[in-house]
């Protein structure tokens, strides 16, 4: 009886510690990523370097690297590039540095919930956040365009949390000039 009580106390305590630990780990991560990107002032800043490039040079291109680069995923209602997603952007930056004639088109998407019009803005801000990070990594903004599909082009046709998390994304389309 006493032993059982002792064991369950230990279990509850360790669960509590585990949960607290998780929580602080998450909030630390997210505040760090926020700090990094906003320090550069690059996210959506209306500065000369943030102005988007003309579409012309992207028009006749095709996706030469389809499927090679992983889709960046986003938290619900967020346009923040999470720490867990950064390596995906860094891989594209590395490729773009090594292949100077390659252009990058960033396609932003949302899950199906909410206003269709607001979702186009949110999808655009997701693409712009990835663009800002690529520019932070040294890629010229003139080589990166954004295209938002809002909630109009889901990758997963489902209507549950899992489908929604897959659909909140930015896809890389790399274009060879």
């Amino acid at each position: 009886m006493t032993t059982r009580w002792f064991i369950s106390t230990i279990l509850v305590c360790s669960m509590a510690i585990g949960m607290t630990g998780c929580k602080s780990w998450f909030s630390k991560k997210s505040s760090k990523s926020q700090g990094d990107l906003s320090d550069s002032g690059a996210i959506g800043a209306l500065s000369p370097e943030s102005v988007l490039p003309d579409r012309g040079q992207f028009a006749d291109g095709k996706n030469v690297m389809a499927g090679q680069f992983e889709t960046v995923r986003f938290a619900f209602d967020s346009a923040q590039v999470d720490d867990t997603e950064r390596a995906k952007v860094e891989a594209v930056a590395e490729y773009a540095k090594a292949n100077a004639s390659t252009l990058v088109s960033l396609e932003g998407h949302c899950d199906e919930r909410g206003s269709a019009e607001y979702n186009v803005s949110l999808g655009e801000r997701r693409a712009l956040a990835v663009r800002a990070y690529l520019m932070n990594l040294g890629i010229d903004g003139a080589r990166i365009q954004t295209k938002s599909f809002g909630s109009e082009s889901p990758k997963d046709p489902g209507h549950d949390e899992n489908a929604w998390s897959i659909n909140r994304r930015v896809e890389f389309v790399l274009i060879k000039q």
Partner: protein
């Protein structure tokens, strides 16, 4: 003593205001009884005319059909291919005519003719314009792609307007009802276009780098609101429809804007921004110089605003996981729920009477267009069973 008098006057004033509000929300006291049984005719065109007339008057929300009625409709609809309509309305209490009008039309436009007569009856009995002659533009995926469709206020005379074979979004009327602005991906990017309803001719309004979302057309028909990201972030702009330079109204590097719409006098703009916090879009009001204030505070999401001719702004608000249609008075901040809470109601737009609202109602996986009544009549579905329907916008003519 004086202050007591003042207090009395103030409280009287308040109770008068409050009473007016109650009158506005109670439907029964605003309805007049109408008797249509004396209106006659024969043939297929008459059947269409009569059915449309009666449905219009019922949907208008201004009438009961109990007998004996205060207002008695007489007259006839005759003819095969060309129609002659005579319509009289008698005030049975005063024994005086309130309407006596002749109309000519064709069998092919019997429905439009009935809409016109319905609005004339509403004007004669109630003293203001009905919505029966109105038209709705909306989006549907019934062909597999999202195209624009136009229909009458009752959902009739439905026709497909675009064949872009792409994605169409956010249609808005010009005030004259001759053109529609909308967003299309027909060239691969979200760009804003102006379409001539009669000819189908299309003008590109905005195809800048990034997103180009069409917003509301100004009440004088000269300017269009746009949400563009060309400067590096989604912001609200004004552009003259006749061509000319852009004026940027917002500068929110850390927030996104959407759905800008004009006030009825064209001096202000209501729009959506998530400036207050990521994931919590709210309504803001600004003047043409971009001076803005936050309007909504309740609800995690307040989106898709439309500023009505009555001064109230309708919008959809997420409360407890459900989107509902609400209306708010921007001066007093008074807020009312309009839609039932059985499912999601979104994307509201005012009908021209300032009483009704068209909106999107989500039914399971599908969605339809419904007419809501701010005075309590039950919602009415306006769209066919096939396809999903979205983003309605109202035109008075």
């Amino acid at each position: 003593m004086k202050s007591y008098l003042l207090l009395l006057l103030v409280s009287l004033g308040v109770s008068v205001l409050a009473q007016e509000d109650v009158v506005v929300t109670k439907a029964a006291s605003t309805k007049s009884s109408l008797d249509l049984s004396g209106f006659t005719g024969s043939g297929p065109a008459y059947a269409v005319f009569r059915q449309t007339l009666e449905a219009d008057l019922r949907r208008s929300g201004w009438f009961t059909f109990n007998r004996p009625a205060t207002y008695v409709v007489g007259g006839s609809c005759s003819g095969e291919s060309s129609l002659a309509v005579q319509c009289q309305v008698m005030d049975a209490v005063k024994s005086s005519p309130v309407l006596n009008q002749s109309y000519a039309g064709t069998a092919a436009n019997a429905k439009r003719l009935a809409h016109k007569v319905s609005d004339d009856i509403i004007m004669a009995v109630k003293g203001f314009r009905g919505i029966c002659s109105g038209r709705i533009v909306m989006v549907s995926n019934r062909t597999g792609k999202k195209e624009l469709y136009v229909c009458d206020a009752d959902g009739g005379n439905l026709r497909q307007l675009t064949s872009d074979k792409s994605i169409s979004l956010s249609p808005q009327w010009t005030p004259s009802g001759t053109h529609i602005v909308y967003t299309s991906y027909r060239r691969g990017y979200p760009d804003a276009y102006l379409v001539d309803l009669a000819s189908g001719a299309r003008t590109c309004l905005a195809n800048y780098p990034g997103m180009n979302m069409a917003g509301g057309v100004s009440p004088n028909g000269r300017e269009v609101l746009l949400v563009l990201s060309r400067d590096g972030n989604p912001e609200v702009y004004i552009k003259p429809l006749a061509g000319g330079g852009l004026t940027r109204l917002t500068k929110t590097p850390r927030a996104g804007e959407a759905s800008p719409a004009w006030s009825p006098d064209g001096s202000k703009i209501v729009y959506v921004s998530d400036l207050a916090g990521p994931g919590s879009p709210q309504l803001y009001i600004m003047d043409r110089s971009g001076n803005s204030r936050r309007l909504t505070s309740r609800g995690r999401e307040n989106v898709a605003p439309d500023w009505g001719p009555n001064g109230w702004i309708t919008y959809s608000s997420k409360r407890g996981g459900l989107y509902g249609v609400y209306m708010i008075n921007p001066t007093t901040q008074e807020e009312r729920a309009v839609s039932p809470s059985d499912t999601h109601y979104e994307e509201p737009a005012w009908a021209s009477d300032g009483r009704h609202i068209v909106c999107t109602r989500r039914e399971g996986r599908g969605s339809k267009i419904y007419l809501l009544d701010t005075m309590g009549d039950p919602p009415v579905c306006l769209t066919p069973n096939s396809g999903d329907w979205f983003s309605p916008a109202w035109c008075s003519q």
